[in-house]
């Protein structure tokens, strides 16, 4: 009987697949670039608080990314890291690019008793500051984080 119990336990451990689901993308909102002869920036905190500098005006606020961690071991720490460092955020029509300077998030989160956790990720986005024109439209980039546990 004990043999069967041990076998069943092994099966459960190996089929539990840790997964991360993107509930929300990182959206800096809708902005107006009044001029681009100096660097302006938007800082979006994980709490969704937004601040701007210089010549960016918020038209509509955005929101931080929200990632759901599921099927992880219960009550463990997940260490989050990334390699974002002045990553280009562009659009398909050309013109000036934005620069994603950094991501902002809590580096260590702890899973609950179900092995789940939520992580909000904000960031800092800057204009090029080179007097280039920004066309109306959507600018985006794909960013990657690493989860260690």
């Amino acid at each position: 009987m004990l043999k069967y119990l041990v076998s069943l336990s092994f099966l459960l451990v190996t089929t539990a697949q840790a997964r991360v689901t993107q509930l929300e993308s990182l959206d800096f909102g809708k902005v107006v670039i009044q001029k681009n002869d100096r660097v302006s920036s938007i800082t979006l905190l994980p709490s969704n608080t937004t601040t701007t500098t210089n010549d960016i005006y918020m038209f509509a606020k955005g929101h931080s990314a929200e990632l759901a961690f599921e099927e992880y071991p219960a009550h463990i720490q997940l260490t989050i890291s990334d390699f974002v460092n002045d990553e280009i955020v562009d659009n398909v029509y050309g013109g000036a690019d934005f620069i994603l300077n950094q991501l902002l998030y809590q580096n260590i989160i702890t899973t609950d008793s179900y092995g789940s956790a939520l992580l909000n990720i904000g960031g800092q986005l800057s204009t090029s500051g080179d007097s280039g024109s920004y066309y109306d439209g959507y600018y985006d980039a794909t960013v990657e984080i690493t989860i260690n546990y």
């Binding site: 336990s9 451990v13 800096f28 909102g29 809708k30 902005v31 920004y134 985006d140 794909t142």
Partner: protein, 196 residues
């Protein structure tokens, strides 16, 4: 008993394996939308009304009609020499009106004044006197500062909208002409520019 210990050892071994350090990566999108364009709509043309006008054919004496952007202000006239050039208002006109929309909340837009514009007869013989339009004025009806005069800027409200009037001064011909004003309509086109 030995078999039981063996099974227990297997279970411990499995536990150690699942608690080793693992790393995974996850990608997601980061984006921003730029909307620099906004909408400026002309609701009504600038109409100086119906007037009686006399031009100095030499173009030296001038008469003016000031149509205020403030709808509560009556039009006013002046002349440098009433015997030579004069404007009298028969039916008062109305200022031009514009609507701004699609602007970020409480943004301030800068006004670029229209250049001096010729107001010419729509149908008249060559040499007939015309007018010039100049000195535009602005009056904000709705926006961040409703019911107030504006000079160089207009600030929109929390919805990113504003409405405003444009008045101007109509002046009799300052150049020599061969014929005084004839009855009919006189018109011209001017460009108003607003920028963030």
């Amino acid at each position: 008993m030995n078999r039981l210990i063996s099974k227990a050892a297997l279970a411990v071994s499995l536990t150690v394996m699942t608690s080793s350090v693992l790393a995974e990566s996850q990608t997601f999108q980061a984006g921003v939308t730029v909307q620099n364009a906004f909408v400026l709509t002309k609701d009504d043309d600038l109409d100086f009304g119906i007037i009686r006008a006399t031009a100095d054919l030499a173009g030296s004496a001038l008469a003016t009609l000031v149509l205020s952007a403030n709808p509560a202000t009556s039009p006013s006239t002046t002349t440098t020499d009433a015997t030579l050039a004069e404007i009298a208002v028969l039916t008062a006109g109305t200022p031009a009106s514009f609507t701004i929309s699609g602007v970020s909340p409480f943004a301030t837009l800068t006004i670029t004044d229209p250049t001096e514009t010729d107001i010419s007869p729509d149908a008249a013989p060559s040499g007939t006197a015309g007018f010039t339009l100049s000195a535009p004025t602005y009056y904000v009806l709705t926006g961040a500062t409703p019911n107030s005069a504006a000079t160089t800027t207009i600030q929109v409200d929390s919805t990113g909208e504003a409405t405003f009037n444009v008045g101007a001064t109509l002046t009799t011909s300052a150049i020599a002409t061969t014929a005084d004003y004839i009855d009919g309509t006189y018109s011209g086109t001017f460009t108003l520019q607003l920028d963030y």
